[in-house]
Symmetry: D3
Subunit: 316 residues, 6 copies
Amino acid sequence: LRNSGAERSHVAPYAGLCTLLKADLRQPGEPLDIALVGVPFDLGVTNRPGARFGPQQVRELSAMAAGPKHHATGIIPAAISRFADCGDVPIASTYDLERATEEIETYFQALADQGLVPLSVGGDHSISYPILKAVGRDAPVGLVHIDAHADTGGPFNGSRFHHGGPFRNAALSGVLDPERTVQIGIRGRAEPHWDFSYDSGMRVIHIEEFQALGCDAVLHEVRSIVGDGPTYVSFDVDSIDPAFTPGTGTPEVGGFTPREVQTLLRGLRGLNLVGGDVVEVSPPFDRSGNTALVAATMLWEILCLLAEAHSLRQRG
Amino acid sequence: LRNSGAERSHVAPYAGLCTLLKADLRQPGEPLDIALVGVPFDLGVTNRPGARFGPQQVRELSAMAAGPKHHATGIIPAAISRFADCGDVPIASTYDLERATEEIETYFQALADQGLVPLSVGGDHSISYPILKAVGRDAPVGLVHIDAHADTGGPFNGSRFHHGGPFRNAALSGVLDPERTVQIGIRGRAEPHWDFSYDSGMRVIHIEEFQALGCDAVLHEVRSIVGDGPTYVSFDVDSIDPAFTPGTGTPEVGGFTPREVQTLLRGLRGLNLVGGDVVEVSPPFDRSGNTALVAATMLWEILCLLAEAHSLRQRG
Amino acid sequence: LRNSGAERSHVAPYAGLCTLLKADLRQPGEPLDIALVGVPFDLGVTNRPGARFGPQQVRELSAMAAGPKHHATGIIPAAISRFADCGDVPIASTYDLERATEEIETYFQALADQGLVPLSVGGDHSISYPILKAVGRDAPVGLVHIDAHADTGGPFNGSRFHHGGPFRNAALSGVLDPERTVQIGIRGRAEPHWDFSYDSGMRVIHIEEFQALGCDAVLHEVRSIVGDGPTYVSFDVDSIDPAFTPGTGTPEVGGFTPREVQTLLRGLRGLNLVGGDVVEVSPPFDRSGNTALVAATMLWEILCLLAEAHSLRQRG
Amino acid sequence: LRNSGAERSHVAPYAGLCTLLKADLRQPGEPLDIALVGVPFDLGVTNRPGARFGPQQVRELSAMAAGPKHHATGIIPAAISRFADCGDVPIASTYDLERATEEIETYFQALADQGLVPLSVGGDHSISYPILKAVGRDAPVGLVHIDAHADTGGPFNGSRFHHGGPFRNAALSGVLDPERTVQIGIRGRAEPHWDFSYDSGMRVIHIEEFQALGCDAVLHEVRSIVGDGPTYVSFDVDSIDPAFTPGTGTPEVGGFTPREVQTLLRGLRGLNLVGGDVVEVSPPFDRSGNTALVAATMLWEILCLLAEAHSLRQRG
Amino acid sequence: LRNSGAERSHVAPYAGLCTLLKADLRQPGEPLDIALVGVPFDLGVTNRPGARFGPQQVRELSAMAAGPKHHATGIIPAAISRFADCGDVPIASTYDLERATEEIETYFQALADQGLVPLSVGGDHSISYPILKAVGRDAPVGLVHIDAHADTGGPFNGSRFHHGGPFRNAALSGVLDPERTVQIGIRGRAEPHWDFSYDSGMRVIHIEEFQALGCDAVLHEVRSIVGDGPTYVSFDVDSIDPAFTPGTGTPEVGGFTPREVQTLLRGLRGLNLVGGDVVEVSPPFDRSGNTALVAATMLWEILCLLAEAHSLRQRG
Amino acid sequence: LRNSGAERSHVAPYAGLCTLLKADLRQPGEPLDIALVGVPFDLGVTNRPGARFGPQQVRELSAMAAGPKHHATGIIPAAISRFADCGDVPIASTYDLERATEEIETYFQALADQGLVPLSVGGDHSISYPILKAVGRDAPVGLVHIDAHADTGGPFNGSRFHHGGPFRNAALSGVLDPERTVQIGIRGRAEPHWDFSYDSGMRVIHIEEFQALGCDAVLHEVRSIVGDGPTYVSFDVDSIDPAFTPGTGTPEVGGFTPREVQTLLRGLRGLNLVGGDVVEVSPPFDRSGNTALVAATMLWEILCLLAEAHSLRQRG
Ligand SMILES: [Mn+2]
Ligand SMILES: [Mn+2]
Ligand SMILES: [Mn+2]
Ligand SMILES: [Mn+2]
Ligand SMILES: [Mn+2]
Ligand SMILES: [Mn+2]
Ligand SMILES: [Mn+2]
Ligand SMILES: [Mn+2]
Ligand SMILES: [Mn+2]
Ligand SMILES: [Mn+2]
Ligand SMILES: [Mn+2]
Ligand SMILES: [Mn+2]
């Protein structure tokens, strides 16, 4: 496989073009399983913008996060799947949240038409709604959602397409199954906005409950909830404590450590994962790149999960 | 006068609430001449957002920039006018550029109803259009516009309300007189977008021409163009070289020094100035506050100009 | 209640004046229960100054930390108490540690005269002594003190009013009961200065002992020590590891995580709390604002505690 | 032409892959006139390393510096030449200055074989020697060298290939004509190392002499020295004052402003320019990107020069 | 003892020259037990350089990390040993990795001739090889190695002296006993390079295994592996999560907390420790100094260990 | 001479201890002409503290600013004078501005007893008063003062020893001759505090007048005012525009460029200079070190002046 990384081992990390996880750029007509996609968009934020630069910075830091081989699970994504950096979703309506959301959906519908598993880098969390519209178009998917916020809020300041509401939108559109949805790491001042989560049957695990139960018990529950149906993984970097990921728009003190998130993600092996995203990297709030390095690392973890799930389905 | 600053001289610069130029907050019913207003808005940007935090950071740095007395001109604004920090324009439509533009206009129309001279802190440059709608509603105003960009571009990505077009919009709306408009400091890659400036009769002085002519000659021409009609001053911090003002959305290398801008501004004494703004401070791109300190310093220069102009009109 | 936050829900976090926890500014004559107060002061430091800018930066970051409702405890401070931002303590003697300490005491004695519960934002830790002079004037108070340093050192470089000694001063002045004092998180090179803590009967729990005992056991001991007498809470941001709170004057590697401090603070529910402070935020050492965000978050936690304690006393 | 930028005007500056001056990536077999090349290399530094990340950061900032049209000269490079981003020089010997220098030369010899005009982004200044070996292989070239340092020093700490000696190496190799060489902006503590410049007949214009003569006189002299023979342009960002370009390895206070360098560069129109480079951008010393923005801006200026010179040669 | 720190207690932390752990500078002819040494060197890095500035920044931050007395163990190094800052290893071959490695070895061989215990501050990890050549010259030493990387890789890009291979080099040179070597905290994308560790009998404890076993069990195993033979301690700051130590060349997300490393180090009391190092502090990637503060803190922990071990050997 | 730098030429800039201008540390009993001294003190500031870290950071950046030879004047200080880094003034009264001022004076009186020329690095500008007490003890000195502020203010907030008043204090103490005093670069909001300058006969040249007159005319006037009597040079980094020197306590937009200050300083050759200082470097407000690099560069300029003046007096 071209993107096995084998022939790339002699390229210095600081040299060459920056691509997501140092993957090859997608070539026209090339067969593919997993599409790495940037979504440079932040019209959906409620507070600090900047996530439009997220894909660029995650590409920049990717050289320090990508395998070829996962040291703990042994997964070699390039050995079991074909993936490539497909560039960024083209968004022409840069002044209109609703039309831009439609443009994003159009892009991911085209990926779905090609049968590709999407792995996206945001961009603010509003992008998960149009992505799920494509991923769940045939049947509603389950969701493992790691975030400080449940993002099931209603219309706000005149729009329902903001980054505090994608999973409400997705459930109401019938592309997300709330009863197969788990939200982990929730905390902070936005709590009063999450009624929809409770009312629709989502399982909300606050950071305090996560700490009390322990990671193993949480993972056990996650698996029993999402079952073996198609499931999406959405990772918001603000789920992690802002000491680790300060470059984000709505930080909440008291979050996960990266090790906890890695343990959570690795615990999803074996699930029928059909897509994922890493969102809310806002480079202007962390010029050091540390936040993007965490994001790229989790992107790598999710790529390994998706590659393995894809491979299992193929062998199915 | 309450805002003379005399009784405030014992307050440490790091103490107390942050207000624009350390002015008093406006009290209900209080008579006023000049309204200091924040416009926390950046939906109009074409590239890097963040100017929504501009008013906050200019307030934070104001303690190091405000007089009571201008050291070079001797003007004491509080001795010849009544001014106050009126807080921020309330903007409810945070996801809709056009409706937000209307909200901004509504606010400034109300100020105009009260006969107030507006002095605003952006926010991106798109805010100058709704402000001019109010300032020039009775008769089109002249304009001294200091910027790297002429901001007379047409519709772009689906909207004409972006920050690259406020002065085209204003001229087309009849609130700005293009023949009494001077744009100084223009440079950079957006040049092909400024046809409207040339076509409508605006005087465009590129940074190279400024350097060749010298400040005195430029000021002489400015005065002959704007004459003694009502004139607005718009200062975009990106007119200055980004070493001085890195915290902005569309920096252009090769700009003014702050000393040149101070000389330009002081050269406007005696004009019939009826309003002004300082725009494009984007704090996420300069956490040090240096950009906001430059902005606050120029805000102070413009306050002195507006206070004197107001005072002259009163005595008129 | 005016500060319920209900009517404020449509104000963007980046808009409007910055106040402590986005509370209303105190209006003259307004009845109040809890006084939020800034103490912009750092003449007491032994090493890195800058905490004089602490109140300003905590105000700036408050928009991202304040409720209306605490997500874990359900407390809504504005529903059970009246609080406001009272501004900063005026300090005229900016070159004299002792006289400034007296000015701070005078201010808090006046608050005590009004029967207010003080919740202060420093400033260096030296401010806790004059505050305790007011809080404990009728009877010595107990203390829950979260810090890397015990701050019970003797005179140093010619003064006893520095930030390494407030609790020795308070105990010797009879306003603090050392036998009802617990100090948690202590570590580092200043250990030889804390003899007074041991000699006077304070309970010192080093970070190592905290880790060995676990948070539950520590909280059990805390409750048995401070009992149901009036108790003060003092939180020094340097108790937390400097990765989370780098913006402080005397950082000590190997500290708490914010989650541990949140667990500790929430464990104080039910105590008879009569005041608190958050100290040692030094903005020049963390321009990102992350430290101040942690501080504002803990300020919010303590406000919830004080509001509930006040409410319980009212219902008596 | 594909790289005319016309079809790219709707791509947001923050979207898509980062290439040098937003040029297309070179496609195999594509005919080309000017090769934009990154040289991620810094083994030649005498003090602060980091320039190996220079090409990456210049690519990142390129979106804010590239035309299509030069606002002052009117040059549209894509209309008169074919250029592309050819990626980075592959360097396998990352621990051996001399062998790496040979690898760099090999790469540029291949470009010369194809008749391409090289425009490189460093990397430290040591890269100019192997580049000149290729550019001047048929006949020694003249040089316009803008720098704080003359870079004509002898062997140092065991090597002659460091960044303080490329032009001595080039002159001694017969690929650079010292009598057609002008060095402008020289200053600082390394002066005793530049004897070779004086001895070999180079014209050294210190920053003080530049200031005394004025830019016009300097340009007049430059043109008379380099004449109409093939000439190379080398721009070291440390020629500019470190307030503008702090991200560099050996900053020297008291340098050019960017406006002065732009005036100098534009004054080179009409010369027979056959290549150029922009060197010494060291991103770790300027995370803000301001230095790289200056570098990208000057890269754009030089591209315009090279495109015009190439076009003139074509038209003969 | 001169370096007891007693007479230094009145010196402010911000005053005076910066030395390692605020130790005295070594005076000629002075008897000494432990040599604190800087190794300003980073030619061995595979990615981000800058560790050549490590010793300088660790000296700068030392004032906030050095005792006189360890708060948890009670060790007072100056009471039981003689130590001093010996300055930096002079390295003349700044462009040649292999010759520089020889220069470093020569320096440490001279220390060994004097019977000194070396405690070094890097510099990249390549320095551990020449140091071990001196420390283990009479008999191979055991090793406690705390790192994200096993650093037992083979030749790479033309050299075997890079920072990814010192312990392979040391084992092959017979100065390190692989069977008495424990490597703790290993993780990340370089895993495929560590075959030598497994093949030679080193014990590799990945971060995941550390977490699963717990610190006590790990320490028990460490002690049984290294036994009572002479043992070296090597601490790479990248073993810690980059939120705590961002200033390093090859960060790996998901690492230790500083508290965990402190627990590990304190658990080494009683071992026959004969030297140590703290490496990979790269100041350009953390201007805040937080990384260097962690490094200085761990340097202090290791000094306490070495002083006690030395003292025990003296008392024999 | 030991400090000729000749034998130091092979030491890398990043290696070895940091001393002022890389001078040798003063050895006991060593004969000396010029004493380089740090004054780590900032109790005198009116706004942002941090200058207590000034000497440390100027030492850190000195390696990039010190000669041996001045490139423009040709002066080699070590060839014509003996100078050394004497360390920092010991200040025990870290909480008492007045007593600390006395301690500083005591130190410089001792230097004066030894006949040494002091060249100091602050610290805030309050240190110039106790230094002048020593320098002018036999006869009042003249002064060339480069600053944004005249620093002749009266008592403020209970003290007259703050950094806004040293030259009023010195004149009133009879150690400074106001009629032989020139203050250059003055500007900003503190103007109303400088009456003493005008009343006492000092020549105040605002930045605007400097710009209007030109550097040559100003230098001509300076020389005629200070004549050939003993003269002191005081350089406050805030005289320069904050883009170049952001790391200072009271920045004023619109200041000098470093090139202008270099021209001014070099224009003082031939004056009978008997001491100097560089003050107001506040590292917490510029972690990049750029401000300290400017300060070290100007320190080097003044060292050259003092060495030449000393040498001329010797040859007298
Ligand atoms: Mn989210
Ligand atoms: Mn979130
Ligand atoms: Mn504009
Ligand atoms: Mn602009
Ligand atoms: Mn404390
Ligand atoms: Mn503390
Ligand atoms: Mn150079
Ligand atoms: Mn150079
Ligand atoms: Mn290592
Ligand atoms: Mn490592
Ligand atoms: Mn001053
Ligand atoms: Mn000053």
